[in-house]
């Protein structure tokens, strides 16, 4: 075999705020205390993970106009908590999900460049956009973005942010006490960006950060999303595919569009359940899944597609015999809409339920409760490794149902096996997130022409 063994990229996703986090477990900890984030990040660093990852939600979810009370809610600002985590970790990348709709390039570029400085080059940004007026109700500018403009906004936002990050050259700060020269040129940080979404100019306050630019992640499988991903876009992209054949096809497509060897990295999310034997793992998985998706929870998950009240339908009975309501305003607010075409989705689900004789709850578990890796530590390590080595992805963003200590057993039991196989580092090689991911450094930025 001539192909060298790929190094698996591992991220740890501390969820905490969704139905898959089991808060009723006696070992479930706080979703908000700093100790929780410190524990999870330090565990990931002990496991030589590439990065730690936080999601975002800018409005509390509502059902039928009332705040949804069944799931864990309440989260910190991602960049602020990651900046604090920089103090208690040394090598771990720190990636924040931040919405490009409800932020401005100038302010966000400052915050991310600051994180990059204060972490010694470990900052990353997962760029997302949203277009819902519901979330906009918390912001000055409201829900101003048309759905069709989402990729334009993301693309322009990223281009503007990158211009800001490049507005200082690596060597603009001279700081020569003897001569009294602090700046090498009087206009360091000058920028001007004009596009459909942004028309901004001035001088950026944050000098060039250790990585030059933070690492960029992006999710999106639509063709605009793929073009964005493959163009000047992100350094890494989320893959939603977990079956090998689909994942390989996506991987090939992204890499072909990119034309840049090894970039962007392709990373699906993944969860795991371990057991001493396969049977143990399967049984434990069943228990966890039923804790994640209660009967009530199952109704609500299906309501995201049916777009109507399903509380009258027995979770242990058949699927609701009513059609989804495509006319009504959103019944569930503040949750990413994964299924765009409700009637089509419901038809598919009916087929699945019929073929497997699933109840309402079992169907919800089938659709929403998937755990990708269930087995003994050896089995899980084998499958993770095989998936990456056969180009299903470059690695995984690993989450757990238990906050914050759920990741511990992965670190203690699976990581050593991946290291034995030579698929995961035993020591960090570099100091930056780019180093961890094997992305080239963006150095040698020279003074740009005067704007």
């Amino acid at each position: 075999m001539s192909k060298p063994r790929k190094q698996i990229i591992l991220g740890h996703y501390l969820g905490g705020v969704n139905h898959s986090t089991v808060w009723s477990d006696p070992d479930a900890g706080s979703q908000i205390d700093f100790a929780t984030f410190r524990h999870a990040a330090q565990a990931a660093e002990r496991g030589k993970f590439d990065f730690f990852f936080l999601a975002e939600g800018l409005a509390l979810r509502e059902r039928q106009g009332e705040i949804f009370d069944q799931d864990v809610i309440g989260r910190p600002d991602a960049i602020t908590v990651l900046t604090a985590l920089a103090a208690v970790t040394e090598h771990l990348g720190l990636i924040a999900t931040v919405n490009a709709t409800f932020n401005e390039p100038y302010e966000l570029a400052r915050q991310l460049a600051t994180l990059d400085h204060l972490s010694g080059g470990r900052a990353g940004w997962n760029i997302v956009t949203s277009s819902d007026a519901f979330t906009g109700g918390n912001f000055r500018r409201g829900g101003f973005l048309d759905r069709a403009d989402r990729y334009t906004r993301a693309e322009e936002f990223l281009a503007a942010a990158r211009q800001l990050w490049d507005s200082w050259a690596d060597d603009d700060i001279v700081a020569d006490k003897e001569s009294g020269q602090f700046l090498r040129r009087p206009d360091a940080g000058s920028f001007a960006f004009s596009g459909r979404q942004f028309d901004i100019s001035g001088r950026f306050t944050v000098p060039r950060s250790p990585q030059g630019q933070p690492v960029i992640l992006q999710a999106g499988v639509s063709s605009e999303g793929r073009e964005f991903a493959a163009g000047g876009g992100p350094d890494a992209i989320f893959s939603p595919y977990h079956t090998l054949a689909e994942a390989q096809a996506f991987y090939r497509d992204i890499r072909q569009r990119s034309g840049v060897p090894g970039r962007p990295k392709v990373l699906p999310g993944a969860s795991f359940v371990l057991g001493d034997t396969e049977a143990d793992a399967i049984e434990r998985h069943r228990e966890i899944t039923y804790a994640q998706i209660s009967g009530r929870g199952a109704q609500v998950l299906l309501e995201t597609v049916w777009n109507r009240d399903l509380s009258a339908f027995d979770p242990d009975g058949p699927l609701p015999d009513v059609d989804p309501d495509t006319e009504a305003p959103p019944f569930i607010q503040g949750r990413a809409r994964i299924h765009q075409n409700a009637p089509e989705t419901v038809a598919q689900w009916r087929e699945i339920a019929e073929a497997n004789k699933y109840t309402l709850r079992e169907l919800a578990i089938h659709v929403f409760g998937r755990t990708e890796f269930v087995g003994t530590p050896t089995q899980v390590a084998d499958r993770l490794d095989a998936f990456v080595q056969s180009d299903g992805s470059d690695g995984f963003i690993i989450g757990s149902h238990l906050t914050p200590a759920g990741i511990d057993e992965f670190v203690d039991r699976v990581v050593p096996l991946l290291q034995e196989r030579g698929s995961l580092r035993t020591e960090y090689e570099g100091t930056t997130l780019r180093d961890n991911l094997g992305l080239p450094a963006l150095t040698g930025q020279v003074t740009p022409a005067r704007v």
């Binding site: 908000i32 309440g74 910190p76 600002d77 400085h117 009294g180 944050v206």
Partner: protein, 406 residues
């Protein structure tokens, strides 16, 4: 319980509070050229951790971390083209978050600009800072609008401003509106901090409810500049209400602080000014119905003589000193002289003093190593931390959420 007699000085109701304002290499424009300065490290975590650790050694109540959305400039109304002074800085909330886990007692108070930013983001950022510091967060509210700031965001047209125009009615109106907007901003931030009652999270397995939704509140703020629905996505921070501070030089900001802030920094230039400003602020506080609820701090820019043989050791050279102008009183002198000034301000009724070190680290280490012991000797300042939260240092209670049913 009978208080220990020896604790008499510490429990004095007229305890002086001391804060330090940190900015770049110090407040003197040539501070970065002094022997101990580390001008190449101003953007590193180590630099800021070191400064905060030093301030904590001096038992200071809190450190503010200065910031502005525009680049530093000798001209307050526009960027300049100078290359001989520090230019470039980090986001202050980031610095505060980075130093929080490596300090234990000192309050961390970053500057946040209100004119272009989102109150919803600021509320969650400062609440998060309160979580990562376990109850030591504050914020210094700064109104913006000058110096090309609007063009950085490209969202609103604001009038061009310069010193010549400053006293025209149009500009006065504009300035007043920026403070009205800041008042709305603080109102939104405070409501968002209260929008989760402390007992909102119930984790009730029987009913499957993680929260009691009746204990989460929409804030439904509607104002001229923004409307915010709420609740926050972040649970109520450890202090309930992190500390809100502001710097003011005139009636309009005094009024904002009197209504909305916990701490106001003012800049008296002499004794008469200190009396006049104190009286004006107290009138505004009374008019707002908040007697005793606003702490007044005087800002002093200090250069401490630490070495009698070489009094100018820590001072930048004379040429640079001609640029050394400040909104705050500049005091250069011995520890005794500066302690005398502080004691006088305290006797005039000032709750505290915020010191702006002329040169870092020299003036900060002189504050912690010499000035603080002198103030302790005079019985004015604490000899140990007696609280672990910033509100606690200032003797402020942890308030109940405004939405908590009585």
């Amino acid at each position: 319980m009978v208080p220990a007699v020896s604790a008499g000085k510490e429990t004095s109701v007229t305890q002086l509070h001391l804060a330090v304002a940190l900015d770049g290499a110090g407040w003197h424009p040539a501070a970065w050229r002094t022997p101990q300065a580390r001008p190449r490290d101003l953007l590193t975590a180590g630099y800021w951790s070191g400064l905060l650790a030093e301030a904590e050694r001096g038992l200071l109540d809190f450190a503010t971390i200065d910031d502005s959305l525009t680049i530093q400039s000798a001209d307050p109304f526009a960027p300049d083209e100078r290359t001989d002074q520090v230019r470039g800085r980090l986001d202050a909330v980031g610095i505060a978050a980075r130093v929080a886990p490596v300090t234990e007692y000192i309050g961390v108070v970053p500057v946040v600009t209100t004119t272009h930013t989102e109150p919803f983001h600021t509320a969650k950022n400062i609440a998060t800072l309160d979580y990562v510091s376990t109850g030591r967060a504050g914020v210094q509210i700064r109104t913006g609008g000058f110096g090309g700031e609007a063009a950085l965001f490209g969202r609103r047209e604001l009038p061009d401003l310069n010193l010549r125009l400053l006293n025209t009615p149009e500009i006065q109106q504009f300035v007043a509106e920026r403070f009205d907007e800041a008042a709305d901003y603080v109102e939104v931030v405070r409501r968002l901090w209260d929008s989760w009652q402390d007992d909102a999270e119930i984790r009730d397995v029987t009913t499957g409810r993680f929260i009691d939704r009746d204990r989460l509140h929409r804030i439904n703020f509607e104002g001229r500049w923004f409307s915010v629905r709420g609740p926050s996505i972040t649970p109520r921070p450890p202090q309930g209400q992190p500390l809100v501070t502001a710097l003011g030089h005139a009636t309009v900001p005094y009024r904002l602080a009197a209504r909305q802030a916990d701490v106001l920094f003012v800049t008296p230039l002499d004794t008469a000014g200190a009396i006049r400003i104190r009286d004006e602020v107290l009138r505004e506080v009374a008019a707002a119905g908040r007697d005793g609820q606003l702490k007044i701090f005087a800002d002093l820019l200090v250069h401490l003589d630490t070495d009698k043989a070489r009094p100018d050791k820590a001072r930048p050279d004379k040429a640079a000193t001609s640029d050394h102008v400040s909104d705050a009183r500049i005091l250069a002198g011995s520890v005794t002289t500066i302690a005398d000034h502080i004691e006088e301000l305290h006797q005039l009724g000032y709750d505290g003093v915020r010191l702006r070190p002329g040169v870092l680290p020299d003036d900060l280490t002189a504050i912690t190593g010499l000035l603080v012991p002198e103030l302790q000797r005079r019985g004015l300042f604490r000899t140990r931390y007696t609280s672990s939260t910033l509100r606690g240092h200032l003797g402020l209670d942890r308030p109940t959420s405004r939405y908590q049913p009585v």
